[in-house]
Symmetry: C2
Subunit: 234 residues, 2 copies
Amino acid sequence: MSLACASCPVRDRAACSALTDEERTAMAEAGRTRHLARGETLFRAGDTDTACATLVSGALKVTSFSEDGEERILALVHPAGFVGELFQPFAHHDVVALTDSTLCTFSHSDMEAAVGRYPALAQALLRRSQEDLHASRHLLNLAGRNSATEKVSSLLLEMASAASDSPCHPAHMFDLPLTRGEMGNMLGLTIETISRQLSKLEKAGAIRRSGLRGIELINPAPLRHASGVYSPSD
Amino acid sequence: MSLACASCPVRDRAACSALTDEERTAMAEAGRTRHLARGETLFRAGDTDTACATLVSGALKVTSFSEDGEERILALVHPAGFVGELFQPFAHHDVVALTDSTLCTFSHSDMEAAVGRYPALAQALLRRSQEDLHASRHLLNLAGRNSATEKVSSLLLEMASAASDSPCHPAHMFDLPLTRGEMGNMLGLTIETISRQLSKLEKAGAIRRSGLRGIELINPAPLRHASGVYSPSD
DNA sequence: CGGAGGTTTGACCACACTCAAGCTGCGTGG
DNA sequence: CCACGCAGCTTGAGTGTGGTCAAACCTCCG
């Protein structure tokens, strides 16, 4: 059996958790475990017969490229997330690893067949797809909001939550999986603006930076405050 | 039978088209036809036991409200589209009619039961959900893109396509279902900027405005040009 | 005819972008 | 082990696009 479902860290949360043991065993036959190093791509826009995958560990980004070669990040994928454009002859977006990642991949056709064969899988993917939709709309809301301070603050809080083990408390100290450029293009800002906002937050005593990637939340209050409330004294 | 499926204009495209005749008849028992006037809301964020619906005619908007009461449009729904947050105890967004609309509504619980009972329905909704996700990412991309001119041009072209009967050709002349304010908050711009951009496009001879809502596409080329396609001779 | 909601237009200003220089951290090779 | 080089980041100065505020103008309806 090519997949080690029994020891899979996301076996309770991923789409395949909806399957019975026999069904999962059958699917595992068709699946492959795959590792991606930071920067490696799973598939590109335009690829036909793209893979589908459940992310087991690490982080991915879903991006589109405009004609002039500008990247735009459309979504982040966290463990237990599903990627792959079902029912589409070719992919519309690129999927790239942000950190070293482990995935559980299936061929496009195997996955579509499985969706037809196992109603529980279709339902689980529907659930996931609705969650993705929700996340996308959340990002839309965030990126459309006004000030750069708001955007960066919100993103920091979200990254802190994603980095935390418990879903309720944000992590106190964590590494950003994104470069400044990547943060910028998620939020519709430039590298420089991100950098300036982080400096401002550090000066204000809200965070501390350690190295390029490390973030320590000293005082989350101003972040929450900034992500929506206008304060005249600035 | 409460629904007139036989004469339904979207019977071939909506999610329910995946059902067999008997299945559809069974679902029709549980459904209700409902009309909404422009501005009426189907459900609000926070509502429990929200309705699910297939849009038969008209147009809807899906919106969220920030703490300070600012509306943000997250998606438009066109005929054959599906609204309703499955698997969620309460709604996260508002759904409001942009124009007088006809919907085919089902209670939250009936719909979830149907998804469990009819695998084909789950699959059809999965397909739709993926399309919605794609649309949301498309909007994300658009709203994150740089210039106001690009945004407005793209939106105009999209509205023209949506208003057209044939999927390939944009309509030559159509009415915007959105107010300036609504366009603005889809694109992350202000009313005034939208207005100025439209004036600019009219002066440039690309469009003509008739009344508040009417748009006539005189020369779509500058619109396409502005909306991302890079042409060296500028 | 009058009012209200939506729109247009103008003047001004600020926030974020651009361009440019210097810095930090990290990997590679001598 | 240090020197070098590169990629990513920070910081600064100046500019411009789109926001804000304000006033006038349509257009639809009662």
